[in-house]
Each structure stands twice: as C-alpha cells, then as structure tokens.
C-alpha cells in the first residue's frame, strides 16, 4: 500500500467518529423536535397551577441572571488580576490550580456544599438566593477562563500606548484592554449561563421546589425551574418521560439560544477585530 492510500484510509477512518458525533447531535435534535406537538404557545404564559410553564421559565431565568450577576463581576475582575497584575509566582499558580479544580468539582458536590453552607449554615433556606450562589460557583471558572482568553488576545501595544500617555495601569486597562476584550468577556458570561441553564444537581437541594404559588416575591423564597421539574417528575414522581416533553423542549431552546448567541458574538467579532486572527 502506498503512503497516499494509507493516508486516505487513515484519514477516512478518523472522519467516521466526527460524522458519528454530528449524527448524534442531529439525532438528539430530531428526538426533541418530535415532541414539538405537545407544546403550544399559551403554555408558556399559563401558570403552573393550571398546567402551564410560566413560573418554571421565569424561575429559570431568575436563577440564571442572579448567578451571572454574582459570577460575572467576580470572574471578570479575577481574570483581570490573573492576566494583568498577577506576578508569575507561586500564588498565581495556586489560584490557577484552584480555578481548574473548581471547574472539575462534580455538580452534585457543589450542590452538597451549597446545601451545607448557603442553605443551612448561612440560613438562606431553600431559596432563590442560595441557588444564585450555588450556581455562580459553577459559572465562575467558565467566566474566568473565557475572560482570561479574551484579555490575552488584546495586543499589549494597546495598553502600552495608553501607559506611554501617562495613565495609570488601571486606567490603561479600563480604557483600552477591557473595551477591546468586551465581546470575548460577554461571550464567556453567556457561555457560563448556557452551561448552568440546565443544571439540576446543584439546585436540587438548595433552591427549587416542585410547585409555588406565583413567582418568588423575594430572593429568600424557593423557586421553580424547568430542569428541576423535569427531573423530579420523572425520577421521584414517576411520570412517564413523554409528559415532560414540552419542558424539555423549552429548556433546550433556552440553552440553545444562549449558546448560539455566545457563538455568534464570538465569530462576528473575530472577523471584525483583525488582531484576533
């Protein structure tokens, strides 16, 4: 067998897994969309007490926005420190390691911690606030890593130009680096939201209940969420899986919208900002 034929055979064989991944993806899409018939628009605005999804959808959004409100600022500032300020020494390495390890902590362990610390120790109870804090822990590493990447892509000359004009370092960062990295930072936060949108294990004991009367009126009340509802209905109550088709579809759409927005922003700005290439 000549080298060229061998190459073709091997590369063809390597292509098979990729095609299988793509098939799996579209298969999942097909299965999910086959349930589209169970969903109608009025369900989205009907209260859960009448069999609708309204409180679950809004509850999920509440959880996500709150978690992003906690993890976003902390994550971005942490990344600014790591990229712009941190001396490349031991402390920085430890922080780096900690971020990686936090990213790898299983969601159920985060949930256990959230229950022991936020819900029980801090006395937040099963509440929206406890959910925000727990979910923000899962978002944090994603935001930090994404922001770091975005900051590193900004050419140092931008900041140097500002420094040469006599600005302080922080001023140089806020005036040049952060604006240039803004699309990347926004992407990382949205990606973080997408990643935890369907998170179940972390909110299982910390913030959700199966049914509430209306929306939570304060952060200290429990909340309904799509993922939690799907999970408890199938696993604990034993409803047939088909009965949650509508919820699954809505949840998937929410996640997909966030993920696609993130991907589109990233691709768009990569084309617009020539230094990113």
């Amino acid at each position: 067998m000549t080298e060229t034929t061998k190459e073709r055979v091997v590369f063809f064989a390597l292509g098979v897994p990729m095609v299988m991944c793509l098939i799996a993806f579209f298969w999942i899409l097909a299965i999910l969309s086959s349930g589209a018939g169970t969903l109608n628009l009025s369900m989205l605005t009907t209260s859960a007490l009448q069999g609708g999804l309204f409180e679950m959808i809004v509850g999920t959004i509440y959880l996500l926005l709150g978690a992003a409100g906690v993890a976003g600022p902390i994550g971005v500032l942490a990344a600014v420190y790591l990229v712009e300020y941190a001396p490349s020494g031991k402390i920085t390495r430890i922080i780096d390691q900690a971020v990686n390890n936090l990213a790898g902590v299983p969601s159920i362990v985060i949930g256990l911690f959230g229950f022991a610390f936020f819900t029980t120790q801090l006395g937040l109870g099963r509440s929206l606030a406890a959910g925000w804090l727990t979910l923000s822990l899962m978002m944090l590493p994603i935001v930090i890593r994404g922001t770091e990447e975005a900051l590193k892509m900004v050419p140092p000359s931008f900041q140097e130009a500002s420094l040469a004009l006599g600005t302080t370092k922080w001023r140089a960062i806020t005036a040049t680096t952060l604006p240039s990295a803004a699309p990347g930072i926004v992407t990382s936060v949205i990606l973080g939201i997408a990643r935890v949108a369907g998170e179940t294990a972390a909110i299982l004991f910390t913030s959700c209940v199966l049914i509430t009367r209306g929306l939570p009126k304060s952060p200290f009340e429990p909340v309904m969420a799509l993922a939690y509802n799907m999970f408890v209905r199938i696993v604990a109550i034993g409803d047939p899986a088909e009965s949650v088709f509508g919820i699954a579809l809505v949840l998937f759409l929410i996640v997909a919208v966030f993920a696609i927005i993130a991907i589109v922003i990233r691709t768009y700005y990569r084309k617009r900002q020539p230094w990113l290439r």
Partner: protein, 307 residues
C-alpha cells in the same frame, strides 16, 4: 502653581491612591476561587469525616448499601461509578480523539468553526435532557437490541456519558493539537513526509500529554456526572454479575447522593454517609483534575509555545 497643574497633581495623587485598592480588590476576586475550594473541602470533609468515624473503612469496602437497615457499604456504588465511567471512556476516547484529529488536520478551515460550534452545542445540552433522551430512546433501544426486560443498565449510562464526555475530549485535545507550532509541521512536510507521517511522528508526540490530559478530564467529568446517569442506570446497589456485565443495573455514587439527600434528615447517620460519599467523589475528581493539570503544564514546556 497654575490652576491646571494643581488639578493635574491632585489627579495624579488621586490615581495613585486609587491604584492600590483596585489591585487589592482584583486580588481578592482572584483568591475567591481558593476560598471557595477551601470552604467546600471544609464543609464536605467535616460532615464526611463524621461518616468515616461512624462507619470506618466499612464505608469504602462494605458490600451492602441499605439505608433502611443502617448499612452504609459504598463498595458497589464506587464500583458502579468507575465501571460506568470506564465504559464511557472506551466509547468516548476513539470518538473524541478521532474527531479532534480530523477537525484540526483534515477538515478545511472554512467549515472547521461550524463543526466546532456543533460540538460545543453538544456540551451545552443539559444533563437532564440527556437523561430524558436516554429514557425515551436509548433505554428501550437497548432492551430490544439485547432482548432484556429492562434497558436501565450500566450500558445506557455509559453511552450517555460517552456523548457527554466527547466535547471535553475534543475541546482540550483539539486545543493542544492546534497549539503544536506550525514550523514543526512545515519542517516535516518540507522533508517530504506525508501528512499522515507528520501526524504520527511529529504532531502526536508533541501533543501526547495534552491528549492524555483531555482523556483524564473526560474521565473526571464522567465520574462526577449525576442526573443523566441517575435517570438511566437502573439504580440498584449491587456489583453486577459478572462484574463486567454492562447489561446489569448499577447505582453510581452521584446518583445515590442525588436520590437520598432529599430524604435524609439533617445531621443524621444517613446525612453524614452521603457527605462521606461526596468527600470520596471530591477527592477522586480532585486527584484526576490535578494530575491532568500537571500533565498539561509539562506539555506547555515541551511544545515550545507557552499558551
């Protein structure tokens, strides 16, 4: 002194004063991850340690997990977790590595981003939806293909986990593959090597540790995955007979915690046993992730280009 220069001086002093606290705030935000990790370990370990002092080694090697009888032997659970994850890797490694090599080496640049985005979307699908799809599609399919009464098996869990681990493997290994300096590749091609020879003798050896790290991260992900596994694994706390029988139901650690935490009353024996399981899980993933981190760091030095 003119009015302007006074203003300038004040501004200058002000900005100097501002600079220090800002750095401190940034540092505190950065250390937040350490604090959280420390608190996490503290809380899970202090509860979990109680379980180890109550049940001793029984918690690790005991054969029977029956909370009603007060028996907390987690061996079948640990076995289930490892078994299901190894099964998942057996599928995900060829799938993930094949995909990432194909994407970085063969697929033309123009559609590379599209495929990467799809893989990324695969990673964004929530685990509860994977579990849902497992129940309505995978579980019945397994039951009919293998002619068994229930498709809720270790195999179903492994298959789901495999799909979920693929994006991790593709992401990390793809990153290292594309970080291999172009010069190495071009030098090899210039010497007359084919693309395949370049891949085998130049690119793969350099990216070796990154690939290994991606597999380990995928493993950590699989061990820690909860909801999807729980929904299809059958949840029976028994070591399958024989132990490699993937058509038996299993009950991984994560599932046990998720299922039983809701019923455990605060600070009871069951409560601490579940935290003990959480501790085992935490330590296990911590070791896997740290090792992967060390492996990647080593690779960063060999690859020549620091990322």
């Amino acid at each position: 002194m003119s009015k302007k220069s006074i203003r300038k001086t004040i501004l200058h002093i002000f900005s100097r004063i501002k600079e220090q606290p800002i750095e401190l705030v940034l540092f505190l935000c950065a250390s937040f991850s350490i604090v959280i990790l420390f608190l996490l370990l503290l809380f899970v370990a202090s509860e979990g340690a109680l379980a180890f002092s109550n049940f001793g080694l029984e918690l690790l090697i005991g054969q029977v997990w029956d909370t009603n009888a007060g028996l907390y032997g987690a061996f079948p659970l640990i076995f289930s977790s490892v078994m299901v994850s190894i099964g998942a890797l057996a599928i995900a490694i060829p799938l993930g590595l094949g995909t990432s090599i194909f994407i970085t080496e063969v697929v033309p640049f123009s559609i590379r981003d599209v495929i990467k985005s799809i893989i990324e979307l695969l990673a964004s699908i929530p685990s509860v939806i994977y579990g849902f799809i497992g129940i309505i599609f995978l579980v019945p399919a397994i039951a009919s293909v293998f002619g068994i009464t229930s498709g809720y098996t270790a195999l179903a869990a492994s298959l789901l986990l495999a799909i979920m681990a693929v994006p991790t493997i593709v992401g990390v290994s793809g990153e290292t593959l594309s970080a291999v300096p172009k010069d190495y590749k071009e030098a090899s091609l210039a010497l007359g090597a084919t693309k395949l020879q370049t891949l085998r003798h130049v690119i793969l050896p350099i990216a070796k540790s990154g690939i290994l790290a991606s597999v380990m991260l995928g493993f950590g992900r699989a061990v820690g995955e909860t909801v999807a596994v729980l929904m299809v694994a059958g949840n029976r706390a028994q070591v399958p007979m024989p132990p490699w029988n993937f058509l038996d139901p299993v009950y991984p650690i994560t599932s046990v915690i998720a299922m039983q935490m809701g019923e455990a009353s605060l600070y009871s024996a069951e409560y601490s046993a579940l935290f003990g399981l959480g501790l085992i899980l935490f330590i296990f993933t911590f070791i896997v992730n740290t090792t992967a981190d060390i492996v990647v760091r080593r690779d960063g030095k060999i690859g020549g280009r620091k990322k």
